[in-house]
Every structure is written in structure tokens, then in C-alpha cells.
């Protein structure tokens, strides 16, 4: 049991490329921390630095009260689940799990007890003698998990462990990982680029971008109060609608409350189709361009009358002038129809013009 603390951690490669630009994260004992961000944001690098697979060029990594910057991976008392599982292809499932224990000189009887216990928990008992290539993707994934839990380490590290599975299995394994972590109550750090995975797994969510932390916190708190336009558009699907407050249409509706804000954000589900303008809120006229009915809800893709500037260069960005509206059920206007959608005051998110900070009205 341990907490993991990153103090101003930096990574600069010999070529001068700065992959991690000073990160501070504090993961409490038994907590599940998820690092999320687009590819290349440095989340995997950061995880590998915690594992000891990458050197730390600045700051401190502290595991259970011990600074481990110079400690070999094997001596950090961590276990890692890799994206491609990294199972030893020539060893049986049993030996894959036992290898790390035997290398530490554990007695064979104890090795056997631990591996069998892990196999029971992960429902791998019938396939202990098989080789990895005789297993399905989900089973391999469980072996990789087993290899981590037999060690009973202080910290679990997960590097996108579910990204090689198909969608259905991914959801099932996601639930299993969470249950397992709750039961073992082991501090965990989990890397993913999938915001849904991040939201559902995390006690603490760390949103990263360009080698820096954009926001840290409880996933729902982040969802409700994204600190930057990057977080706003990265967390939540479909992404938050972002628009400039400089157009006459919006400026006039926001009135004085716009203040210094340059960007207005509204989540698709916060819109309602209405003829009125909600008090203190915002209403937009849209032309319906496309409709997606997925059963419980319907997405309306509308275009605004006037073109406007791009406001945020981030993943999930919408084309200029496009707005997504989510409504429950399957009722929807016809394509080409002109509608009016509105959002109430409390559902508006205001950001500075550069998108780097949130403005509370």
C-alpha cells in the first residue's frame, strides 16, 4: 500500500524535445488514477517514468514515501500491464505469472499458491498450462493482469491495457479491472486515450495535453467544470460545442456577463429545442443538416446561419459553425428544417479567448 507523488516531474530527451513539462500529481493510497489525453500528450511516457522504464530528467517520483528516481524497475515494487500484454510467448500461463516471483527467489510452494489464487480470481485456472498463443485476446489480457497481481505490488501500472480488445470485451474488462482494484485496494495508475474509459474508471482523473497537466480532479467535477477548452472538448462525447462570443448574435445575448470571456461552450445535452430564449441563457437558430438516431437519444447536427472562426484546435473539434444537439428519444425535426435551440444560464461554460482558463460568471 502506498501513495504515489509526482513533484514537478520533467522529461527532456537528448535531442532537446521536452516530453513532460513539469507534472505534479498526488495519488492517494488505494486510489485509481487515470491519465488521459490524445496520443503524444506524454501520458505513456509519464507512466513509464513511474515504472522506471524511462529516466527522469527533472523533479521527483515518490512511491510510498521513497524517492525512486534512481531505483531499478524491479526494485520499485510496482507491476505493469502492457498494451500488447508483453507475455513471454514461450512460457506457459503459469510460468508467465511465476517468472517475476521466481526471479525474486520466492519458494516454489508460495509461488504455486499465489499463481493459483490469481488464476482463480481471474478465471484462468483451466488454462494454466497453455501457451499465450493458444489464448483469446481477453484471456491474454487476464494473464497480463495475473502477472501483475501475483506480485502483490504497492502500485499497479496500466498502459492502455484494453486497447487491443474489441468494443464489447473492452467494456466487460473495464468493469472487471475496476472490481479487482476495489477488492485488492492497490494504488493504480492507468493510461488511456479513451475518455469514456477514463471517466468510468477514475477516482482521480488527470487530463494531459502537450506534456502538461490540463486539469486534475474527480471525473464528474471535471466534466461539469472543465478548466480549459481542451478539457471541455476532450471529456464528453460528443464534444462540447464551442463558439466565439465575439459574434453579434452571442454577444448581445450574453450581455455584460460575457466579461473577459472569448469562448462560450455548451454541451450537446444541455440544449433544448424551444422558441423562447431562456432567461440569462443563450438561444441559437440552426438549420438541421443531419440526424443520428441511436434509440435512447438522438443527435441533431445543425449549422448556424453565420460562419464563424474556429475557436479551439483540439480533438473532437467541430467544423466552424456546426452545433451538435442531443435530445432524448427518437423524435426529431426533419432535415433542412430551421429550428431554435436554447440553453439556460447555469449550463453555459465561459472561457478566456485563448481557451486556457475558465471564467466563472
Amino acid at each position: 500500500m502506498a501513495n504515489v507523488t509526482l513533484r514537478n516531474v520533467r522529461k527532456t530527451y537528448t535531442g532537446g524535445f521536452e516530453a513532460i513539462k513539469g507534472v505534479n500529481v498526488d495519488v492517494g493510497d488505494g486510489q485509481f488514477c487515470v491519465l488521459v489525453g490524445p496520443s503524444g500528450c506524454g501520458k505513456s511516457t509519464l507512466l513509464r517514468m513511474v515504472a522506471g522504464l524511462e529516466t527522469v530528467t527533472g523533479g521527483e517520483i515518490d512511491i510510498g514515501g521513497r524517492v525512486v528516481n534512481q531505483v531499478e524497475p524491479a526494485d520499485r515494487d510496482i507491476a505493469m500491464v502492457f498494451q500488447n500484454y508483453a507475455l513471454y510467448p514461450h512460457m506457459s500461463v503459469f510460468n508467465n505469472m511465476a517468472y517475476g516471483l521466481r526471479n525474486r527467489g520466492m519458494k516454489e510452494a508460495e509461488v504455486k499458491t499465489r499463481v493459483e489464487e490469481a488464476a482463480r480470481v481471474l478465471e484462468l485456472a483451466p488454462m494454466l498450462e497453455r501457451k499465450p498463443r493458444q489464448l483469446s485476446g481477453g484471456q491474454r489480457q487476464r494473464v497480463a493482469m495475473g502477472r501483475a497481481i501475483v506480485r502483490q505490488p504497492k502500485v499497479f501500472l496500466f498502459d492502455e491495457p484494453l486497447s487491443n480488445l474489441d468494443a464489447k470485451l473492452r467494456i466487460a474488462m473495464r468493469v472487471e479491472i475496476r472490481k479487482l482494484q476495489r477488492r485488492l485496494n492497490t494504488t493504480s495508475i492507468y493510461v488511456t486515450h479513451d475518455q469514456l474509459e477514463a471517466m468510468t474508471l477514475a477516482d482521480i482523473l488527470v487530463v494531459m495535453n502537450g506534456g502538461q497537466v490540463e486539469q486534475i480532479g474527480n471525473p464528474l467535477a471535471i466534466y461539469e467544470k472543465p478548466a480549459t477548452t481542451f478539457v471541455a472538448s476532450f471529456i464528453g462525447a460528443p464534444p462540447m460545442n464551442l463558439m466565439s462570443t465575439r459574434t453579434e448574435e452571442i454577444k448581445s445575448q450574453l450581455g455584460g456577463s460575457a466579461g473577459d470571456a472569448g469562448i462560450l461552450g455548451i454541451r450537446p445535452e444541455d440544449f433544448v429545442i424551444t422558441d423562447q430564449t431562456p432567461a440569462g441563457g443563450v438561444a441559437l437558430p440552426l438549420t438541421v443538416e443531419a440526424i443520428e438516431r441511436v434509440g435512447a437519444e438522438t443527435f441533431i447536427y445543425g449549422s448556424r446561419a453565420q460562419d464563424e472562426q474556429r475557436v479551439a484546435a483540439t480533438p473532437g473539434e467541430l467544423p466552424p459553425g456546426e452545433v451538435i444537439v442531443r435530445i432524448p428519444g427518437t423524435e426529431a425535426p426533419a432535415i433542412g428544417q430551421k429550428i431554435r435551440v436554447g440553453a439556460i444560464r447555469s449550463k453555459l461554460h465561459l472561457f478566456s479567448g485563448d481557451g486556457r482558463s475558465r471564467i466563472e460568471a
Partner: protein
């Protein structure tokens, strides 16, 4: 496809059998000749069907040798060839796999120069530096020795490159998982990399064994004693005497015996052989 049916197919079968016949004919003749009487062959009266002298010819070949100048039994030549081929194959694999491991999995000063020093040897077969190499082997008192037969042929980069290529395809995560599992460099090599390289080693072994067994020019130069002759050198010496004295059935029996081990390896381990051949040419 449709046109591969029927007539086209028979044509293909026919051409392939003609090809096989052409490829097999010289060997068939050798087998037939090795069971016949020398006098008949020397008169140009050789039959195209097997004769009745199989046992006496092979007994003489293996245990006695020709009655002429090189009275060396062929079993001894085969033994020499076998030792040389094994030394070349095992030696080359052993030194190559560890040097490839060093070059791929470590960073150290002069890594790239060392790689190039080894790499360049790929370009030049022993034939082009034959006399200087002979002189060095002579200076090292390795003439007529197994070391002299095999060491100069071990000095080449093919296997190192092959292993390097293979190591590059081994996922980095395997090494990282090993490090987290507490394995150091030697342990990772022994527990993980070596078992993973098994198929490559086997494929390489098949190719190197055949190449070693079939060496000719080098053994011809550095063996002076008859009892150190390899079978390839021995068979050549059997037909050095005047035509009339050449004991053709014994020569042909020796040819068959010389073909037997490598051909057996190719046929029995075809998959590994094909793989080794394709890999070493990459």
C-alpha cells in the same frame, strides 16, 4: 481460376515431372553406377538399371576406400566433414547470437564501428582471401586441424545480421516486463531471448550445416594429411588418377554418401530449411 482446371493442369503436372526427372537423373545414374561392376562401367557398358554389387561396393567405400592412391575409408572423411560442419554451424550461431545481443540491446562507445567491422565481412567469401588466410592458419599451426578447417569460415556476418534483424522485431515491452520481473541482461537473454530465437537458430543451423558440409576450396588447401580429408576433397582425389584406374562404382558410392546428410536435412527439415534460406538472404 477456371482455366487452371482440366487441360492446363495436366500440362503443369507434366512439366513438373519433367523438371523433377531432369533434376533427379544425375543422382539416379550415380546410385545405379554405385551398384555395378567397375569393368562394365569402364567399358562404357553401364546398365541403366541397378546392378548386384550394392553391398560390396558400399562396404569397400565406407570401410576400405579405393585401392588406388588415396586409401582412406570414406567413413573417416564423413566424420571429418561432420565435425567441420557442426563446428561451423554451432560456432557461428554461438558467437553471432551473443554479438547481435550486445549490439542490439546495449549502447556503448564504438557500437556502430564494431557493427560495421562485422557487417563488412558479409561481402567477401573466403575464396578471395584464400592464400593470406592460409598463411595465417599455417602460422597459427592450425593446418590439418578442425580449428583450422572451421574458424576462417565462422568469420562472417550473415548470422549476426539475421539475429539482429530478429531481435529488432522482439517487442520492447518484453524486455521491460522482464526488467519489472527482476531479470537482468544475462537472465533476459537466457530466459526469454534465447527461447524465442529457437526457430531462427534451428533454421540457421540447417543452412550453415549444409554450407559447412559442402565446403571445398578451403579444406582442399589446408588439409595435407589424408586422414584429415573431408569427403568433398576425398571424392575429388579419387578421380585424380588416370581415367582407366578410376574406380567409378566407389566414386559414385562416395558421391551418394556425400549427398546423403545434407539432402536428408533439406527434405526432413524442409520448413526450417526454406525459412533459413530466405532469412539469410534478406
Amino acid at each position: 481460376m477456371v482455366e487452371d482446371e482440366g487441360f492446363q493442369r495436366y500440362v503443369a503436372h507434366f512439366i513438373l515431372w519433367v523438371g523433377i526427372a531432369i533434376v533427379a537423373f544425375p543422382v539416379y545414374i550415380a546410385i545405379v553406377a554405385s551398384t555395378q561392376d567397375n569393368a562394365l562401367i569402364a567399358n562404357g557398358q553401364m546398365s541403366l538399371l541397378p546392378g548386384g554389387h550394392f553391398f560390396e561396393v558400399y562396404y569397400q567405400t565406407i570401410f576400405v576406400g579405393t585401392s588406388g592412391s588415396t586409401r582412406e575409408p570414406v567413413y573417416n572423411m564423413m566424420l571429418n566433414s561432420l565435425v567441420m560442419a557442426l563446428l561451423i554451424a554451432v560456432g557461428k550461431i554461438a558467437i553471432s547470437i551473443i554479438s547481435a545481443y550486445g549490439i542490439v540491446y546495449f549502447r556503448f562507445p564504438f557500437r556502430m564501428p564494431i557493427f560495421w567491422i562485422i557487417f563488412i565481412t558479409l561481402m567477401l567469401p573466403v575464396e578471395v582471401r584464400i592464400y593470406p588466410t592460409y598463411k595465417i592458419v599455417a602460422d597459427l599451426h592450425m593446418l590439418d586441424s578442425y580449428a583450422g578447417l572451421s574458424l576462417p569460415l565462422i568469420a562472417s556476418a550473415t548470422a549476426t545480421l539475421l539475429f539482429r534483424q530478429f531481435f529488432m522485431t522482439v517487442p520492447d515491452e518484453l524486455l521491460e516486463a522482464s526488467r519489472i520481473d527482476g531479470a537482468g541482461p544475462l537472465r533476459f537473454f537466457w530466459d526469454t531471448l534465447l527461447p524465442l530465437s529457437r526457430t531462427n537458430m534451428a533454421a540457421l543451423f540447417v543452412i550453415l550445416f549444409i554450407l559447412g558440409w559442402n565446403q571445398y576450396l578451403w579444406p582442399l588447401l589446408i588439409t595435407t594429411r589424408d586422414d584429415m580429408q573431408t569427403i568433398q576433397v576425398g571424392i575429388r582425389k579419387m578421380i585424380t588418377t588416370t581415367d582407366a584406374l578410376t574406380e567409378w562404382p566407389v566414386v559414385m558410392a562416395t558421391a551418394v554418401l556425400a549427398m546423403l546428410p545434407p539432402v536428408f536435412v533439406v527434405v526432413a527439415m524442409q520448413k526450417l530449411f526454406v525459412r533459413g534460406l530466405v532469412e539469410t538472404e534478406k
